[in-house]
């Protein structure tokens, strides 16, 4: 805390910290100085001249957003001279603002309007001027009306600090305008559509398209909840009018939301939502009633249990449901049905390896966004942060602007790798070699914390095994010279506050172990490792016991069983639960019935055609979801599900924080928890809850979320580096990397039903080739190509962009074509698939190879 000084503001004494701006000091003293260009989240530009104040002894008027307070300063914010000057500026602005407040959505929230009113400006002294710009309505989300623009520059500033940096002032003097390079439309300019510009615009120049003429500020009801997309779990405030969502914003001005968070909620209102229970009759899913669907589903599940035993039934849950739903679901299966066969999408997205990672480091290692922003050295491993986890991307950008050093390990060039001090562009799948190399360089270069490392278990063994590791092998496998690794090790090792950030679904469990080793070796175990998660409630889903290995509270089944028998009042199965892979293998024989909530395993699991075959061989399948997914199409009973915007409860985000989810709109269908409770009643296991709150209470009495990680073993793991993913061979010589895109998301169920899909070229149905490969394969931009793997082939279109090295192609995961290609090779230890690197061959469609 800096020193307090005393200033006089409008005749009152105020104590304020030294070094802040006059406008901030006034705010602390409860005085709002009118301002247009100034924005707390941005550096001052001092351009609007509305925040002028008088300072005793100073010559002329002073912009309060540009001058810092000094001890003893006497400030007047509301003298006649100040008001006159403000009035002059506002009248000038108003004469260039041919807006009609009558039909403007910003009416009531417009800052120009507010100050004009406060200063009593009835009519501007100057004649009106209309700039005559055409209104840009060419993109699906942001309406740009530069006739209303007052050139305050907030949008330009925020686009530079947390956006894609695509807009700026063009031209000078009287014809100044905010525009993209060459004045192209936003969608062609490289804009990420984070909408930060729109959030800070003080007038109606930038508005949400969806909101136009559907309700104004004072009619809007606001609900604070959590974004349902990636694991960042950003706070989201929905503005609703008459039970319909108008817009989503951050909690305060300048809070970052990405395109998915700010605009991608519209899937909630999609006409393709399932609104009635469906029952398959003569092979066709037909509308039915809840009562009939519950009766039917319960009867079939009970039949299977009676004839073959409870362990012939399994469950699978997505990682985007609330803790309450995940808890109820596993309770239904374990206590209601009597089986431990329950698994979740978490297994496809980095679990249970992440549980081990934090157990190795202790819960001090948990990282918040603020920790990243304050860091001085960052190591990014296979995390395209600006695209897949945009909030992390912004944190990294902020850290960089604070002078942090950045090392990126990624096969491709990304927006963030271009800002990196060192970009280790290693071969796809060679992370383990790169990190082992780094570990060795840290040790050999003596940039590690010897005192701390000695205290950790197996330090001598680590030294020995790293002694055996040849840097030549690392160089050969990764394609990276050891000098680069040495430099990177130095950059990271010498940082005082460092964070390792990695994409949990893209790296192997062994890579995670190596990351833990690096943390331990350098003694950086406090706020040091952030796994980026792709789904909103991964930690919560796992902690609620929706993973085969664990009961709620990540307790092993054998030790926790008796506790839960007591709590739930039934005998529980002693048999260990099966993972989804094991269930898949047994479908048709050892697994006959499945219950799935909020997940699309046919689309999410690798080798989708064999997955679909397995699901079709089930005796009975019930799916509860918001849309008719690939899996739901195979179901015998489909129950309508709700989205996060219609749920109450909690989630745990990637920062390991519990966040509250609240219903922003009236649920379209029965809430998920009510559906589970109703079905449970039909299988003769009564779960008695009247609201989500009661479920939360029960959870609280059994486990603490997020679970405190007490154990910190502090032991090195000694990983033998291997190439992860499928290795190319003669027949399949290329590597296909499956990943996220800016406007697509994971299995694409939500983004496909949102206007986001209009921004994703070809709705994500493409493969990116670099120009060298395209030339040698004879491909041109947009042509049809056949991509073949050992499992199958797909036809898609080619896009030529140079961000990956030769021999590697990129396919967006949101269109879900990779499922046909991907390998279901499984990491045996963790039973999770490694499906994001696929060996493929490529040929131009219509040309014989």
């Amino acid at each position: 805390m800096s020193e307090q000084i005393t200033v006089m503001i409008n005749g009152k004494e105020a104590k304020v910290p030294e070094g802040i701006l006059i406008i901030q000091a006034a705010k602390m003293a409860g005085i709002d100085i009118p301002h247009l260009c100034y924005c707390e989240c941005l550096p001052s530009t001092g351009s609007c001249r509305v925040c002028l104040v008088e300072i005793e002894g100073a010559k002329g008027l002073v912009a309060s957003c540009a001058r810092k307070v000094k001890d003893g300063m006497v400030i007047d914010t509301d003298t006649e001279k100040v008001r006159e000057a403000r009035r002059f500026v506002l009248e000038l602005i108003l004469s260039n603002h041919p807006g009609d407040c009558m039909s403007c959505d910003k009416n009531g929230a417009c800052e120009l309007q507010k100050y004009a009113y406060e200063l009593g400006i009835e009519k501007t002294a100057f004649s009106m001027k209309d700039p005559g710009y055409e209104i840009d309505r060419s993109n699906p989300f942001i309406e740009r009306n530069y006739n209303l623009c007052i050139l305050c520059g907030r949008c330009v500033g925020i686009c530079k600090t947390q956006g894609a940096d695509v807009i700026d002032f063009v031209k000078r003097g009287m014809v100044t305008k905010v525009a993209t390079p060459m004045d192209k439309p936003l969608q062609e300019s490289g804009c990420d559509f984070c909408g930060s510009c729109l959030a800070v615009c003080p007038v109606g120049a930038l508005l949400e398209v969806d909101r136009r003429f559907r309700g104004r500020e004072w009619e809007m009801e606001e609900t604070k909840t959590v974004c349902s997309y990636c694991g960042c779990g950003c706070d989201l405030v929905f503005g609703t009018v008459d039970g319909q969502i108008m817009r989503a914003t951050g909690e305060s001005l300048g809070d970052f939301l990405c395109a998915k968070g700010r605009f991608g909620w519209d899937f909630v209102e999609s006409s393709k939502r399932i609104t009635k229970p469906l029952i398959k009759k003569n092979g066709v899913l037909t509308e039915s009633t809840y009562e009939e669907a519950f009766e039917f589903a319960a009867e079939r599940l009970l039949d299977i249990r009676k004839a073959h035993g409870a362990n012939r039934i399994g469950g699978f849950i997505g990682a985007g449901n609330t803790n309450e739903v995940a808890y109820l679901f596993q309770k239904f299966l374990r206590a209601g049905i009597g089986t431990n066969n329950i698994d979740s999408s978490a297994r496809l997205l980095g679990f249970p390896a992440l549980v081990d990672l934090y157990e190795a480091l202790g819960d001090g290692a948990v990282v918040s966004m603020e920790n990243i922003e304050e860091a001085d050295a960052l190591l990014l491993v296979n995390a395209d942060v600006t695209v897949a986890y945009p909030r992390v991307g912004v944190a990294v950008k902020r850290a960089l602007s604070n002078g942090a050093k950045l090392v990126v390990v990624d096969a491709g060039r990304t927006k963030i790798s271009e800002k990196a001090d060192i970009h280790i562009q290693s071969m796809a799948g060679s992370n383990e070699f790169v990190l082992s190399g780094l570990l060795k360089e840290l040790l050999d270069g003596k940039v590690y914390d010897e005192e701390f490392a000695k205290k950790c278990g197996k330090f001598e063994d680590l030294k020995k095994s790293l002694g055996k590791l040849k840097m030549e092998t690392v160089e050969r496998e990764s394609g990276i010279s050891k000098d680069v690794l040495k430099e990177a090790a130095k950059l990271y090792g010498e940082g005082k506050k460092t964070v390792i950030i990695f994409g949990a679904e893209t790296v192997s469990p062994q890579t995670m172990e190596l990351i833990a080793d690096i943390s331990l070796l350098t003694g950086k175990t406090k706020a040091s490792v952030l796994p980026c998660l792709l789904s909103s409630n991964l930690w919560g889903t796992v902690y609620m016991g929706a993973l085969a290995e664990f009961y709620p509270g990540v307790r092993k089944a054998d030790e926790a069983g008796s506790d839960f028998e007591k709590a739930w009042g039934v005998k529980l199965s002693k048999e260990a639960g099966l993972s989804i892979k094991e269930m898949l293998d047994g479908m048709g024989s050892s697994i006959l019935g499945m219950y799935i909530i909020g997940a699309d395993p046919v689309a999410q699991l690798p080798n989708s055609s064999s997955v679909a075959k397995s699901f079709s061989s089930l005796d009975f399948l019930v799916v509860q979801d918001t849309f008719l997914t690939e899996t739901a199409k195979l179901a015998d009973v489909v129950l309508p599900g709700v989205t996060l915007a219609e749920s109450n409860g909690t989630i745990v985000n990637m920062e390991y924080r519990t966040k509250e989810v609240r219903t922003a709109i009236e649920p379209l269908v029965q809430a998920d928890w009510e559906t589970v409770v109703a079905l449970s009643k039909k299988v003769n296991y009564t779960m008695d809850y009247s609201s989500e709150k009661e479920i939360a209470k029960e959870i609280k009495s059994l486990v603490s979320i997020p679970k405190k990680i007490e154990k910190n073993t502090y032991k090195f793991t000694l990983v033998e580096p291997k190439i992860s993913g499928e290795e190319p061979d003669k027949k399949y010589p290329y590597t296909l990397i499956v990943g996220e895109t800016t406007f697509g998301f994971y299995d694409g169920v939500r983004t496909k039903n949102s206007k986001l899909s209009e921004l994703e070229p070809n709705m994500g149905d493409y493969v990116v080739f670099n120009s060298d490969d395209a030339a040698s394969l004879g491909l041109e931009d947009g042509c049809k190509v056949t991509v073949k793997s050992r499992r199958g082939k797909v036809i898609t279109s080619a896009k030529i962009l140079d961000f990956l090295p030769k021999g590697m192609f990129f396919m967006p995961s949101c269109h879900n074509k990779q499922g046909v290609l991907s390998s279901d090779g499984i990491d045996l230890k963790l039973k999770s698939p490694q499906d994001r690197l696929i060996a493929v061959s490529v040929s131009k469609e219509g040309v014989a190879k």
């Binding site: 001249r49 002059f88 002032f169």
Partner: protein, 173 residues
């Protein structure tokens, strides 16, 4: 300020040059205010100035001096202010009398034919693109001449007639 040349026009040209070259366009009072001053000055030099315009110019320039972010903008406004006080008469002449003493504000001045010098040759009428000149060519030994004169409402002060008159009969007043 140079003594030759109309002070109002000099200020106008100066502001136009400033807006085109030096102005950064970042601070609103300077950018928007200068545009307004140019508007007013153009109005005055076109003979359409109103009595309040001098006050308006004085106000705008004073406010810009008070509020602009940098010295460039303040200096430009100061230039206007100084001109207003040093050449008050000229501004008033422009506005009230629609008269430009330097005869450089083209739309304020008017063209007249000095009938004593005019030879009634008709050359001016032929070249006038606006048909602003009326009269008939003199025919020898005939009385009842219709001498030439310029209709001021139509005249755009293009100067064509000036160039063809051999008798220097067309005068700018």
């Amino acid at each position: 300020m140079s003594s030759d040349g109309c002070p109002v026009l000099i200020v106008l040209e100066f502001l136009k040059g400033f807006a085109k070259d030096k102005m950064c366009g970042k601070c609103l009072p300077c950018m928007l205010g200068t545009v307004r001053m140019i508007d007013v000055l153009e109005r005055i030099t076109n003979g359409k100035g109103e009595e309040e315009d001098i006050v308006l110019l004085d106000e705008i320039s004073s406010y810009i001096v008070d509020t602009a972010r940098c010295k460039l903008g303040k200096d430009a406004a100061t230039f206007v202010k100084d001109s207003l006080s040093s050449s008050k008469n000229e501004y008033e002449e422009h506005i009230k009398d629609k008269y430009c003493a330097q005869k450089s504000c083209e739309t304020i001045v008017s063209y007249q034919i000095n009938s004593e010098k005019c030879t009634i040759c008709g050359a001016c009428k032929e070249v006038c693109p606006e048909d602003a000149i009326v009269g008939e060519k003199m025919v020898s030994y005939l009385s009842d001449n219709k001498p030439y004169y310029i209709k001021n409402k139509k005249c755009t002060k293009c100067g064509e007639c000036l160039a063809v008159c051999e008798a220097d009969a067309i005068e700018i007043v």
